[in-house]
């Protein structure tokens, strides 16, 4: 009986948290904050990438058990990093993205899917971002973040940089690009009456990009730490069957 009462009280305690309204503190464009036509536009741009990403996972990742495990690890990294709300120099807080590390293993397309899952989770359970703005948010984080990180990693390899330098640059710049694109998306939807899209973009860059710089550097350092750990822990043979990025590096 006492146990039931305790369970009832615990349930009430949990529910009171769920019922207290709170100001929205999200890292992405919030639900309803993009006009409908822009929501449709960004969905239309993003969905082909998601489709190719799903096919890439089916063709390149699922047939190989090691790749599946490594993709799970890359997904775990995205989940952890995108849930960290960290203070920054501008007196506001934001989140890292975690997408860059996985692109080093798999290339950009599988990470489009992984990033999208994290965004969907946050939109549905945390009211961070939203379903209407998912296309825009996924495009900035999962598409541009992943492709930007991949491009930077390949560029670093071309300059014969060490894998660690490549991973740092990929993770940090992929993170920064995400928020630059978010600023641009908002500027397109809400151009300033004087100066238009560019003036508005400058304003949103000031909000997102400067806050994100220290966080992006932190994400780069953390990605290098995880990469080095994984390399030591699991051995380089684990990378032999995965993405083309790694094989180019070698």
């Amino acid at each position: 009986m006492a146990r039931r009462k305790l369970f009832f009280l615990f349930t009430l305690w949990v529910f009171q948290f769920l019922l207290v309204p709170r100001p929205a503190l999200a890292m992405h464009i919030m639900e309803g904050f993009l006009p409908a036509r822009w929501c449709l536009f960004w969905y239309a741009v993003y969905l082909p990438f998601l489709l190719v990403g799903l096919l890439a996972i089916k063709k390149r990742v699922l047939p190989d058990p090691s790749s599946k495990i490594l993709l799970g690890f890359a997904g775990a990294f995205v989940f952890v990093l995108s849930a960290l709300k960290l203070p920054s120099v501008t007196g506001s807080s934001s989140h890292p993205t975690g997408v860059g590390l996985g692109t080093v293993f798999f290339g950009p397309f599988p990470m489009v899917v992984v990033g999208s899952i994290a965004l969907l989770f946050q939109a549905l359970l945390l009211a961070h971002g939203g379903i209407t703005t998912l296309g825009a948010n996924a495009f900035s984080m999962a598409v541009v973040g992943a492709f930007g990180a991949y491009g930077v990693y390949r560029w670093a390899q071309r300059w014969h940089a060490s894998p660690q330098v490549g991973v740092f640059l990929a993770a940090a710049i992929g993170d920064l690009l995400t928020y630059l694109v978010t600023s641009f998306q908002l500027a397109l939807a809400f151009p300033a009456s004087q100066g238009g899209v560019l003036a508005s973009a400058g304003r949103f860059f000031g909000i997102f990009a400067i806050t994100q710089v220290p966080l992006a550097i932190g994400e780069g350092i953390l990605a290098v730490l995880v990469f080095s750990f994984l390399r030591n822990y699991a051995g380089e043979s684990i990378f032999s069957s995965v993405g083309e990025a790694w094989s180019h590096e070698r």
């Binding site: 207290v20 309204p21 639900e31 990093l81 506001s92 989770f121 209407t132 750990f229 051995g235 043979s237």
Partner: protein
């Protein structure tokens, strides 16, 4: 330093860093505004007549949000931990 020692040092550093980030992110409250809040403030100034046309279906309370963020982090750590275990097992089987 042997590979095993290096792996241990890196692993412990990683655990320390993640624990520190968890404390800063979830347990401490700096009372800072999110960048998105600043962005929505800017939208309000750029387009004062704009009203969000859709609301989140589910909006957790402030404490529930922290609990859910902590859950997301722990879920990620759990999946990461399992992946490492599975990788090591696979390596040993080779």
């Amino acid at each position: 330093m042997s590979a095993k020692e290096k792996s241990t040092v890196l692993g412990l550093t990683l655990i320390g860093v993640l624990a520190g980030l968890f404390v800063v992110s979830i347990l401490l409250d700096f009372g800072l505004e999110g960048t998105d809040d600043r962005a929505s403030g800017a939208i309000g100034e750029l387009r004062p007549d704009y009203q969000p046309w859709f609301q989140n279906v589910f909006e957790p309370g402030e404490q529930a949000e922290k609990v859910l963020f902590a859950f997301q982090i722990l879920l990620g750590v759990g999946i990461g931990w399992y992946s490492l275990w599975a990788l090591r097992r696979k390596n040993r089987a080779r």
